[in-house]
């Protein structure tokens, strides 16, 4: 029987099968950020251990930092300590660091691909659950906790148990106005917030093949919201074109690249390979999606209404009631009638240049509705520069949106960009958990196009009719 892509990458990274039955898996790339690494470096220091491969380890700051013009002068003492600790730790252990002063700084999952750190066929980890993003390149990439960060720093390996495999196949053609974000929200809605736990998902089918790398990253990014260990997409010419683009300092070049391309072309699931679980979606039936609750699985069509508590798959009625109560919503309310206070366009899910262009296209020549605050936050300083070169920043400013510096920003309530209690957002990020964007904040997850349209209308609207 043939092998899946996941099994091929796994097999190529087995250092040793341990007596316990665990596999010692080699890790090719390790990304680090300020929040989940300080205790790991402390552990190394306590035990007198070095970082085994600082050349395979890369650090940046993203979660904690302000995205306005105060960014170089972080006033929050705890945040500043965390940022300075990362700077000190990376200097002490010889790890490359892209700090606030670097023009390469950005969200860890955005700069990985940008710098050519992310490559097909690799194993990659980061103390961050959205590491699954890098699976868009056919890289087996997953989030780990701080103890595992320390383990990888010290040994460049992880003790792992093989996951099950999940085929998510999306066929047909995406209708106009429907995006990668809508695909993944719909998948999570259909399989549930824990539906892919214990699995590595491979996204397949015509729709996936037709997506650009940005769209593929959006999809793989949210794999974790269905519980998956990782998401994968087989690399193809689009992947190779991305990796061989001019400005990828860490990607192979010349002969090394030729050899790598030969290997990368074998990174496909064999025809006769079997997955443990299958899911299929026909893109023709897709419409823009909007989340209405406090889990990414609590999603519906923009044309639909907030559901009755007993009409929600995978969730107990009392949990739905609690979610609706938190969200300040009544069953039966049309999604398009829900007003928004804040629109956030950014995060490792949707902050790449393609996302910004899509939002700009909607905002061009229009004005943000009165009383709506709009933040547009590029994923990296490189994307910021590119957007400015294309004049997108002017489109955003003229529409009345705030154009920010790179960072996680309002994706999580850890830096100054936060919702106030009961403020309601349309957000292109990946989590609508209670308090995720700030204590008491109410988050609705959507695509960049839908977020931009909501910014103009002041409430959710079907972007397909947004002329």
């Amino acid at each position: 029987m043939g092998k899946t892509l996941y099994e091929k990458i796994w097999d190529a990274h087995v250092v040793e099968v341990l007596p316990s039955g665990e596999t010692l898996l080699y890790i090719d790339r390790h990304l680090i950020h300020e929040v989940t690494s300080p205790q790991a470096f402390d552990g190394l220091r306590l035990a007198g251990r070095p970082v085994r491969r600082p050349d395979l380890t890369f650090a940046t700051v993203d979660h904690n930092i302000p995205t306005d013009d105060t960014r170089l002068n972080v006033t929050d003492i705890l945040s500043r300590t965390q940022i300075e600790t990362l700077k000190r730790n990376t200097a002490e252990f010889g790890v490359p660091y892209y700090g606030l002063e670097s023009d390469r700084q950005g969200i860890v999952h955005v700069i990985g691909p940008e710098l050519g750190i992310t490559l097909p066929g690799q194993t990659m980890v980061c103390g961050d659950s959205h590491t699954s993003t890098h699976g868009a390149f056919g890289s087996l990439a997953f989030g780990i906790g701080t103890s595992e960060v320390e383990h990888v720093l010290a040994t460049q390996t992880l003790r792992s148990v093989k996951s099950k495999t999940y085929s998510v196949q999306v066929d047909g053609q995406l209708p106009v106005g429907v995006t990668a974000k809508d695909v993944i929200l719909r998948v999570i809605r259909d399989i549930g917030a824990g539906g892919a736990t214990g699995h590595v998902v491979e996204y397949r089918g015509e729709v996936i093949r037709a997506l650009d790398m940005a769209g593929r990253m959006t999809i793989c990014n949210m794999s974790i919201e269905a519980g998956a260990r990782a998401g994968l997409i087989a690399p193809d010419q689009k992947t190779f074109d991305f990796v061989t683009a001019v400005d990828r300092p860490f990607a192979p070049k010349g002969q090394a690249l030729e050899a790598a391309l030969e290997r990368w072309k074998t990174l496909v699931t064999d025809e006769d390979a079997q997955f443990d679980t299958y899911y299929h979606l026909d893109a023709a039936e897709l419409v823009p999606q909007v989340t209405w609750g406090t889990s990414p699985a609590m999603t519906t069509d923009v044309t639909a209404r907030v559901p009755e508590p007993d009409q929600v798959p995978f969730v107990n009625p009392q949990d739905v009631e609690r979610a609706l109560n938190y969200m300040g919503l009544k069953p039966g309310t049309a999604i398009e009638e829900i007003p928004v206070d804040v629109v956030f366009i950014g995060s490792c899910t949707n902050s790449r240049i393609e996302d910004l262009r899509a939002a700009a296209q909607i905002l061009k020549g229009r004005k943000v509705a009165p009383n709506v605050q709009v933040l547009v936050v590029p994923g990296s300083q490189q994307i910021r520069a590119q957007a400015e070169a294309e004049g997108l920043d002017r489109i955003f400013s003229e529409a009345g949106a705030e154009w920010r510096q790179a960072g996680c920003s309002m994706c999580l309530g850890m830096n100054p960009d936060q919702l106030k209690p009961q403020q309601r957002s349309a957000s292109t990020s990946n989590r609508n958990f209670e308090g995720r964007q700030g204590v008491g904040g109410r988050t609705h997850l959507v695509s960049p196009e839908m977020a931009a349209a909501a910014a103009v209308a002041g409430h959710f609207v079907d972007v397909r009719n947004f002329a």
Partner: protein, 205 residues
């Protein structure tokens, strides 16, 4: 790490499915650079409102005193990879969390489960029926025997025992309280050998 062999203790219940790590410990508390001081931050935004404790929240009820096992619903610990969630639970005083598998949805999210093992907090996945029994008699006593991979509820109607899954590797680490990194470093020559037969690992720049 403190070994986990067998534990008998009081359980309390928290009736909520899909509890995410933002609920376990909100992001604004992740700014510390230490590993300790998280216990009192557990469930911060659920247990209080504007600084006032909510008396009905399980951790605020009198029976929470001395509890060492938390019984809850499926897909516990979903969301972010923050190990702070596990630190908060174990530093509050819990040694184990019990949650059910319901259909295709497991008791615990993957990363949370891994993080728990590394910190001597035992995630115990059982049947929904077993958890329902615990909910029906809360608070109560359970015995978790890692050696035997069983959990026994000491209920008014008598003892009920169920087995739970735990990977061999994690079990061995927990039973002996081992330093996992130290153990892996014993395979340094295997790692060296892998690196020499896998030359493409080095980045270009």
């Amino acid at each position: 790490m403190e070994p986990f062999v067998k534990h008998t203790g009081k359980y309390i219940t928290f009736d909520r499915a899909n509890t995410d790590t933002d609920a376990i410990i909100p992001a604004r508390y992740l700014k510390k650079i230490e590993r300790v001081g998280y216990g009192e931050l557990l469930f911060m935004d659920l247990k209080q409102k504007k600084g006032e404790p909510l008396p009905d929240f399980p951790l605020n009820r009198p029976e929470a005193e001395g509890a060492s096992v938390l019984v809850t619903r499926q897909n516990f610990g979903c969301g972010s990879s923050r190990e702070h969630a596990v630190w908060a639970i174990s530093q509050w005083g819990f040694r184990a969390v019990i949650a059910p598998r319901v259909g295709a949805t497991p008791g615990f999210a993957d990363i949370f489960r891994n993080n728990s093992y590394k910190n001597g907090l035992l995630p115990v996945e059982v049947s929904e029926e077993f958890v329902n029994r615990l909910f029906a008699h809360s608070p109560g006593q359970v015995t978790i025997d890692l050696e035997a991979r069983t959990v026994t509820a000491h209920l008014p109607e008598g003892d009920v025992t169920e087995s739970f899954p735990v990977p061999d590797g994690a079990r061995e680490m927990l039973l002996k309280g081992l330093d996992e990194i130290g153990l892996t470093l014993q395979f340094a020559s295997a790692i060296d050998a892998y690196e020499s037969r896998h030359p493409e690992v080095a980045p270009a720049a």
